[in-house]
Structure formats: structure tokens, C-alpha cells
């Protein structure tokens, strides 16, 4: 049986037979559509944030509570994690030893967790300054938008952990391959959303 390579969202793999190829195509197209639906949620929260930006009602303002240092560090960490996930995908594509796939997934997970720790620290700092979501419409919209991304990253971390266990238990079978590809789309999508958050929320907030 010759290998079949087709085109679908995400990294294209060589598949052992045509059915696996068709199944992967459908699965990844479906996940892509899901991400687009999820993107609508983020888009609406961005819009809500934009509308409520001025509703500070005498409370903390964006430039008063954002800090460029941690936000930049989070950006670097998350972008690096996207790169390491890419290395994991390539390891899977070229049939590298299972160790290498696990290793890169592990590095990605560690970076994801580091991102989450830093983000929670940011939120706690804001809380300490009285910038809680209960304070104003502006802070409500901030705490709906940014932590929702964080929640996605947390879900992604859990998913990474599950996939690492599955790689150990099942090896790289058809389902593991499809789900690693899906997770890849998810992880890179979160990166793109974060770039939006960093530019629209943090940079714009600090420039004002």
C-alpha cells in the first residue's frame, strides 16, 4: 500500500491508506470550522471590550493597571510554545522516535503552564490594586476576554497531558495522529488570539 498525502488544514502527513487520509481531512476540516465558531466568540468579546473601554467609572484605567513587562514575557513564552509544538508535529510527521514527540509536547506543556502562572499572577496584582471585574464595566469586559483565553490555554494544557499519556499507551496510532493535529490547530489558534490580546488590550491600553 502506497502512502497517500492530501491537503488539509494543519500539517499534512503521509497516510498509510486513502481512507485514513479522508478521515483526517474530515476531522481537521471539522475542527477548523469549530475554531472559526470559537473565533466568533473572541471577536464579540473583543468588540465588547472596545465598547466598554471607557466605562471606567472613576476606577482603574488600562494604563494604570497593565504592565508591559509580564505581558511581553507571556507573549514570548506563548509564541515559543507554538514553535515547540511545531517541532512536535514535525517529529510525528517524520516518524522520529516516540521520545522526541513526547519531549517536545512536554516542553510545550511546561511553557503553557508557565504562561498560566504568569497570567494568574498578573490578575492577582490587578486585584490587589482594586482592579476587580466588579469595579466597572471596563474591568468586567477585560476579565471576560483575557481569562477566557487563559481558560483555553488551560484546556489546551490538559489536552496536551492527555495526548502525552495516549502516545505512551497507544503509540502513534491513527486517532493519536488526528488528535495531535487537532491540538496543533488549537494551540496555534490560541497564539493568534493572544497576539490580538497583546496588541489590542495591552499595547493599546498602555499607549493611551
Amino acid at each position: 500500500m502506497s502512502a497517500v498525502e492530501g491537503i488539509h488544514p494543519g500539517l499534512n502527513l503521509a497516510h498509510p491508506h486513502a481512507e485514513a487520509q479522508a478521515e483526517t481531512e474530515t476531522a481537521l476540516f471539522g475542527f477548523w470550522v469549530f475554531l472559526m465558531s470559537d473565533a466568533v466568540i473572541f471577536a464579540l468579546l473583543f468588540a465588547t471590550y472596545g465598547v466598554m473601554l471607557h466605562a471606567t467609572v472613576g476606577g482603574p484605567t488600562p494604563s494604570g493597571v497593565y504592565e508591559i513587562g509580564p505581558a511581553l514575557l507571556e507573549t514570548v513564552i506563548l509564541l515559543t510554545s507554538s514553535f515547540t509544538f511545531g517541532l512536535a508535529s514535525i517529529a510525528m510527521k517524520h516518524g522520529a522516535p516516540r521520545r522526541r514527540l513526547l519531549g517536545w509536547l512536554g516542553v510545550t506543556l511546561a511553557l503553557g503552564l508557565a504562561f498560566l502562572v504568569l497570567e494568574v499572577r498578573d490578575f492577582l496584582t490587578m486585584f490587589a490594586q482594586g482592579a476587580t471585574p466588579m469595579r466597572s464595566g471596563y474591568l468586567s469586559s477585560f476579565f471576560a476576554l483575557v481569562p477566557l483565553h487563559g481558560l483555553h490555554v488551560a484546556a489546551g494544557c490538559l489536552w496536551l497531558a492527555v495526548m502525552m499519556v495516549q502516545v505512551v499507551v497507544f503509540g502513534i496510532d491513527e486517532r493519536v495522529r488526528i488528535n495531535v493535529l487537532r491540538l496543533g490547530l488549537f494551540w496555534h489558534f490560541l497564539d493568534i488570539v493572544w497576539i490580538g490580546l497583546f496588541s489590542v488590550v495591552y499595547l493599546q491600553g498602555l499607549i493611551r
Partner: protein, 695 residues
């Protein structure tokens, strides 16, 4: 139990939250009605449990229905949910009509707060738990058959969608027995639904039922769109798809992009209510206009989510029962797509009076009227399809005709409302209520009932009773006109919607007529069930095992009725539009396969029911502030999803011999059946084998 323990375990539940206790303390008619409704839910639930236990059918239900991933059975279960919820919401409508007729300068018999719950549940149920499950069920059943597929793209996800919807519908029923429902209308506008004005559990029931349902719908939309893009059989180009598949595709796209705004709206309202955020509150920078925009950014495409599948049904029914191919197929496809796109550009017309500038209103008013154009194209195409055709007035066709007349009328009043200065005069009156019932009853309910009569023989192998079908049809149409035409008059006369009492004696005759109309609609529902009962009783004389009772052209008619689990013994190849009709004319309707292959079908899974129950449990815990229950439900849901990802036996193989056996048995039926002409399709001679007539 000591004081701090009770709220930790039972949240904010108290004995007065039971309608039975309330009715005991205050035996007014209104409370007794509430207790009666709650009692009916408990009694009905128990009766079903006892009946199934007595028949010993739990195992059968679990194996064949609850855990199935078969798109056909999932479709049927959606429609069952729709019928149950339709019954409840219609009874509520009758109660409201009776109350208004009785409350002219009088208190009537339903208390104001109870009345507000009635119109809120009526609207929420009719939209989210009658209309949505009905059309999702229809698409689920029919679309994969029409495109020559063995199942949808993601069968497990399909079951999850169903069970999330079922869990949400269950939550609506529980709200009758424990606590109370929202009084904020089906759109749940804040700030009224905020804690400051509605601190009770009502809005929380609404929030979580709608949220669960909308997640299910988003996933359904995703599933349908991917199925249509990826699962078509060889030769089934997009422009050869039956019209119903096109409208399903557009509906699916709308679901993917229009349900998220609803999820965002309900989630933000929940953040306000649970964590003290300020999105829509009156103070600290909250702004309810954001809510109005979010909910209608969903709400308007939703109208087309509801109406487009019915348009698809009508296209199929009118073509089949006019014995002609569909007129203007390409223009119908373009019109459907145009409607889908335009539906995202008109949402502000739901709140013309809420303070945006006249120019913005003008833009949205014009966009709204523009939607009338593609809709008009469709009406003309259907009329031309009938022109010079041999029209048979079957029940489905009657619904289609009633739809065309009634829907055009509703469209005209829609143009009135789309014109902002006129909207200012009649907004928030019964004129609006009359208008949207005038769109949705023909534009959704008639369509679904037409589809129900049309595809029922395919699903169950026997036809529905025509006589009772006609009686029911007559009641639905007469009832509609009697119940809603007076509302136009009342609305133009200034009667506001959602009024518990009326103080204008001149309204009396109109309210009486509308009340009679509501009773006729109740008869329509009853006769609908009588039709089903009579049809089941007489099923031996109406069997159509060969599978083509109406001499139609779609692939779904080329297989047995009811179809085997895998739909097609051999995946068909399509050469044209109306593929089955083309093959019938070529004398090649039932080609014998050279050999049979084993078929892999998705194996049963309990993930769907588990997630549905856990979702409902989580929601219930959130409603009552039983945090331990909500946390447990959520954790168990996540655990279920992870556990499922470890399952590797995903398929069940139907051996080639089994496929061959089923197929040969069906071919014996074909040989035995006598081809019948269209004129006698309503008689017992119809065994589902159509006679090919000269064109």
C-alpha cells in the same frame, strides 16, 4: 439539619419553591394551575418510567435508541422532543389567550407573575425546544440519505448534540416542578433579568437551558456543514444536491456563526448574576445595549435558521407532488445563499426604537426590505414549479399551499415593520406578535409538518393517515387565522404585547375570536396525535416497504423503507439532479450490486447520554447555587470526554453476508410489489413501487 449545612447542600432551595407547597398555602386558581402543571410533569415522567419497566423495554431503549449513533434514530429522537415540547408550549399559549379573554377589566385567573412565566416559557420553548429540535431532527434524518452518505461526519458529536438539547429541554421541564421560570421574555433582556430586579432562580433556569441548547446547536451546525462538504457520494456535485440539502447547508453555516453571539450574551449575563460583573447592569458602566446587539446578532440569523429548512422541505414537496422537477433550481440556490448572508445585516430592526440615529435605522430598514427580494424569488419558483404540473393535494402539499398564501401575508406586514417610522407606531404591540407568528407558523411549523407527513413513510415504512392529516391541517390553518388575524387589529389599535390584563372593552370581540383560534389550534395538536395513533393502528394497509411511495426523485427514495442502518448497501453514483428519477426513467431504478462488501458503522456509545445528563446536572447545580453539584457535574463531564478519547473500538462491522441478506429480502419485496400510478398513491395498493409514467 443545622442552619449552615442546608445552604451548603441544597443551595437556595426552600420548600416554598415547590408549586405544590405554594398551592397548599395559597389555593388560588393561578397557583393550582402551576401545581397542576408540575404534577403533570411528575406524573407523566413516572408514567413513562412505569410503562417502560412494565413492558421490560429499558434494555431495548438503551441499546437501540439512547446510545445509538445512527443519524436516523437521532433524528427521530429530536422530533420526539419537539412534539413533547410543542404540546407544553401550545397549552401555555391557550392559557394566555384564555387569560386575556377573561381579563378585560377583570383580574382573570392567572396572576401577573405566573402570566409572565407563561409567555417566557412559551417563547423560549417554541424557539429553542420545539422549532430547533424539529428542524435539526429533519436535517439529521433526511440530509445524509439525500447526499448518499452512510452517516454524518461526526456521529458521536451528533449524539452529544442531541443529548445536550435533551438535557436542556429536561431542565425546562424541571423548572415547572422545582422553583419557577424567568419572567423576562424569551430574549431575557437585562437589566430586568439582572439580580437587582430578578433575584430568583427564574433567569438562571433560562440562562442555562438556553446555553446548553445553544452549544448543542452549534455542534449540530458544524456537523451538518462538514457532512455536506465531505460526505457526498460520487457524482453528487454541490449543484446537483437536492434543495433541502442546500437549505440545510445554509442553516448549518448560520448555526456555526450565529449561535456564538447567543452563548456570549447568556454567558455575560451569567457573569453579571453570579460574579457581580457589570456588563448590563444599570450602574458602574453596564450597558444593556450591548445585550440587545448580542442577542439579536444571534436572533435575526436564528429566524433564517428556522425558516430555511422549511423552504427546503417545500421545495421537495412541491416538486414531488406537482410531478415536475423544481423550477429555477439555480435561482433558488442563489436566493438561499443571499438570505443566509443578508440575515447577518438586519439585526438592528429588532430595536429601532432604542435610540440609534435615524440614518442607522434607515440602513437596517432597507436591508430588511432587501431580504424580501430573494424570498419573493423563491415564492415565484414554487409557483412556476406547480404551473402545468399534475398537482396532487396530499397533506404535505396542502401545508405547502397554505404556507405560500400565509407567508406572503406575513411578509407584507414585515415590510410595514421594517419601515422605522411605522415601526415606532406598532412596536411592542400585538401587531408584532401577529407578524412573527405569521412568519414562523407557516415558515417553520407547516414546513416541519409537511416534512413529517412526507418522510414519515420513509422512516417507519408506512404512510400517515390522510383523513386525519387533513383534519389536523384544517385546524392548524383555521386556528392560525382565527388566533392571529385579530392580533393585527388589536396591535394596530394599541394593545401592548405580554399584557396580563386589558382595560379597553373595545378589544373584547377580537380577544374572544383569538381565544377561539387558540382552542382550534389545540384541536390541531390533538388531531395530529390522533393521526399518528390511527396510522399506527392501520399500518398493515399502508406499508410501503419498497420505499418510494410518492414517485419522487431524491436518493432517499431509492432505498428500503425503513432504511437499513447503513442506508445504502452500495454507495450510489449520481449522474444528474433528481438522480433517482433519472434512473427510474432509464429503467435502472434498482440495480443489483455485483457483490456485497462488509460495512463499518459507528459503534454505540454512552458518551452522549452521559454528557446530556451531566450537563443538565451541572446546570441545575448552578441554578440552585448547589456548588458541589455543579462542580461535580462539570468534573464528571470533563472526565467523560477524556475517557472517551481512550476508546479504540469505534466501529462495528456489518458482515457482507448480512448486508446481502437484508438487500435480497428487500429485492423480493420489489419483485412482489405492483408498480402503481400517482393517482392511487393514497390507497393500499401503494407498496412503495412507483410506475414510471410517460413525461
Amino acid at each position: 439539619m443545622n442552619a449552615p449545612l442546608w445552604p451548603a447542600v441544597f443551595g437556595r432551595f426552600g420548600w416554598m419553591d415547590l408549586p405544590f407547597v405554594r398551592a397548599w398555602q395559597d389555593p388560588s386558581v393561578s397557583e393550582i394551575i402551576g401545581a397542576g402543571a408540575g404534577g403533570l410533569v411528575v406524573f407523566g415522567g413516572l408514567a413513562v418510567v412505569v410503562l417502560v419497566t412494565w413492558l421490560g423495554r429499558w434494555g431495548y431503549l438503551w441499546r437501540e435508541w439512547f446510545t445509538t449513533l445512527d443519524h436516523k434514530k437521532i433524528g427521530v429522537m429530536y422530533v420526539v422532543i419537539a412534539f413533547v415540547m410543542l404540546s407544553r408550549a401550545l397549552v401555555e399559549a391557550v392559557l394566555m389567550r384564555m387569560q386575556q379573554a377573561a381579563a378585560i377589566n377583570a383580574p382573570g385567573f392567572v396572576a401577573p407573575d405566573h402570566f409572565a412565566q407563561l409567555f417566557t416559557t412559551h417563547g423560549s420553548i417554541m424557539i429553542f425546544f420545539m422549532a430547533m429540535p424539529f428542524l435539526t431532527g429533519a436535517i439529521n434524518y433526511v440530509m445524509p440519505l439525500q447526499i448518499g452518505a452512510r452517516d454524518v461526519a461526526f456521529p458521536l458529536l451528533n449524539a452529544v448534540s442531541l443529548w445536550l438539547t435533551a438535557g436542556a429541554a429536561g431542565l425546562m421541564m424541571v423548572s415547572l416542578v422545582i422553583g419557577r421560570f424567568s419572567t423576562g421574555g424569551w430574549t431575557g433582556y437585562p437589566p430586568y433579568t439582572e439580580l437587582a430586579f430578578s433575584p430568583d432562580v427564574g433567569p438562571d433556569y433560562w440562562i442555562w437551558a438556553v446555553t446548553l441548547g445553544s452549544i448543542g446547536t452549534t455542534l449540530s451546525g458544524l456537523n451538518f456543514a462538514v457532512t455536506i462538504y465531505k460526505k457526498r457520494c460520487p457524482g453528487m456535485d454541490l449543484m446537483r444536491m437536492p434543495m433541502f440539502c442546500w437549505t440545510s447547508l445554509c442553516t448549518a453555516i448560520l448555526m456555526i456563526f450565529a449561535m456564538p453571539p447567543l452563548t456570549v450574551a447568556t454567558a455575560l449575563l451569567a457573569l453579571d448574576r453570579y460574579l457581580g460583573f457589570h456588563f448590563f447592569t444599570n450602574d458602574l458602566g453596564g450597558n444593556m445595549m450591548n445585550y440587545a446587539n448580542l442577542i439579536w446578532l444571534f436572533g435575526h440569523p436564528e429566524v433564517y435558521i428556522l425558516i430555511l429548512p422549511a423552504f427546503g422541505v417545500y421545495s421537495e414537496v412541491i416538486s414531488t407532488f406537482s410531478s415536475k422537477e423544481l423550477y429555477g433550481y439555480t435561482s433558488l440556490v442563489i436566493a438561499t445563499m443571499a438570505i443566509a448572508v443578508l440575515s447577518f445585516t438586519v439585526w438592528v430592526h429588532h430595536f429601532f426604537t432604542m435610540g440609534q440615529s435615524a440614518n442607522i435605522n434607515a440602513v437596517f430598514g432597507i436591508a430588511t426590505m432587501a431580504i424580501g427580494l430573494p424570498t419573493g424569488v423563491k415564492i415565484y419558483d414554487w409557483i412556476w414549479t406547480m404551473f402545468r404540473g399534475r398537482v396532487r393535494f396530499s397533506v404535505s402539499m396542502l401545508y405547502s399551499l397554505a404556507f405560500m398564501m400565509t407567508f406572503v401575508l406575513g411578509g407584507l406586514t414585515g415590510i410595514v415593520l421594517a419601515f422605522p417610522p411605522l415601526d415606532y407606531l406598532v412596536h411592542n404591540t400585538l401587531f408584532l406578535v401577529a407578524h412573527f407568528h405569521n412568519m414562523l407558523i407557516p415558515g417553520l411549523l407547516y414546513g416541519m409538518l409537511a416534512g413529517y407527513n412526507y418522510w414519515f413513510p420513509k422512516a417507519f415504512g408506512f404512510r400517515l393517515d390522510e383523513t386525519w392529516g387533513r383534519i389536523s391541517f384544517g385546524c392548524w390553518v383555521a386556528g392560525f387565522y382565527l388566533a392571529f388575524m385579530p392580533l393585527y387589529v388589536l396591535g394596530a389599535g394599541g394593545m401592548t404585547r405580554r399584557s396580563q390584563a386589558v382595560f379597553e372593552p373595545a378589544f373584547r370581540p377580537w380577544l374572544y375570536i383569538a381565544g377561539i383560534g387558540a382552542l382550534v389550534l389545540l384541536c390541531a395538536l390533538v388531531t395530529l396525535f390522533v393521526q399518528l395513533w390511527v396510522s399506527i393502528r392501520n399500518r398493515e394497509s399502508t406499508r410501503v416497504p419498497v420505499g418510494d411511495p410518492w414517485n419522487a426523485g431524491g436518493l432517499e427514495w431509492s432505498i428500503p423503507a425503513p432504511p437499513p442502518e447503513y442506508n445504502f448497501a452500495v454507495i450510489p453514483t449520481v449522474r444528474d439532479r433528481d438522480p433517482f428519477y433519472v434512473e427510474k426513467e432509464a429503467g435502472n431504478a434498482y440495480p443489483r450490486p455485483k457483490r456485497y462488501e462488509p460495512i463499518a458503522m459507528p459503534a454505540n456509545s454512552m458518551t452522549g447520554p452521559a454528557l446530556g445528563v451531566l450537563g443538565a446536572v451541572t446546570a441545575f447545580g448552578l441554578v440552585w447555587h448547589m456548588w458541589w453539584l455543579a462542580g461535580l457535574g462539570l468534573a464528571a463531564s470533563i472526565a467523560t470526554i477524556i475517557a472517551r478519547s481512550f476508546v479504540r473500538d469505534l466501529y462495528r462491522i456489518v458482515p457482507a453476508a448480512e448486508v446481502g441478506r437484508i438487500d435480497r429480502r428487500w429485492r423480493k419485496e420489489i419483485d412482489r410489489a405492483k408498480p402503481i400510478g400517482r393517482a392511487v398513491e393514497g390507497t393500499p395498493a401503494n407498496r412503495g413501487l412507483a410506475e414510471v409514467e410517460a413525461a
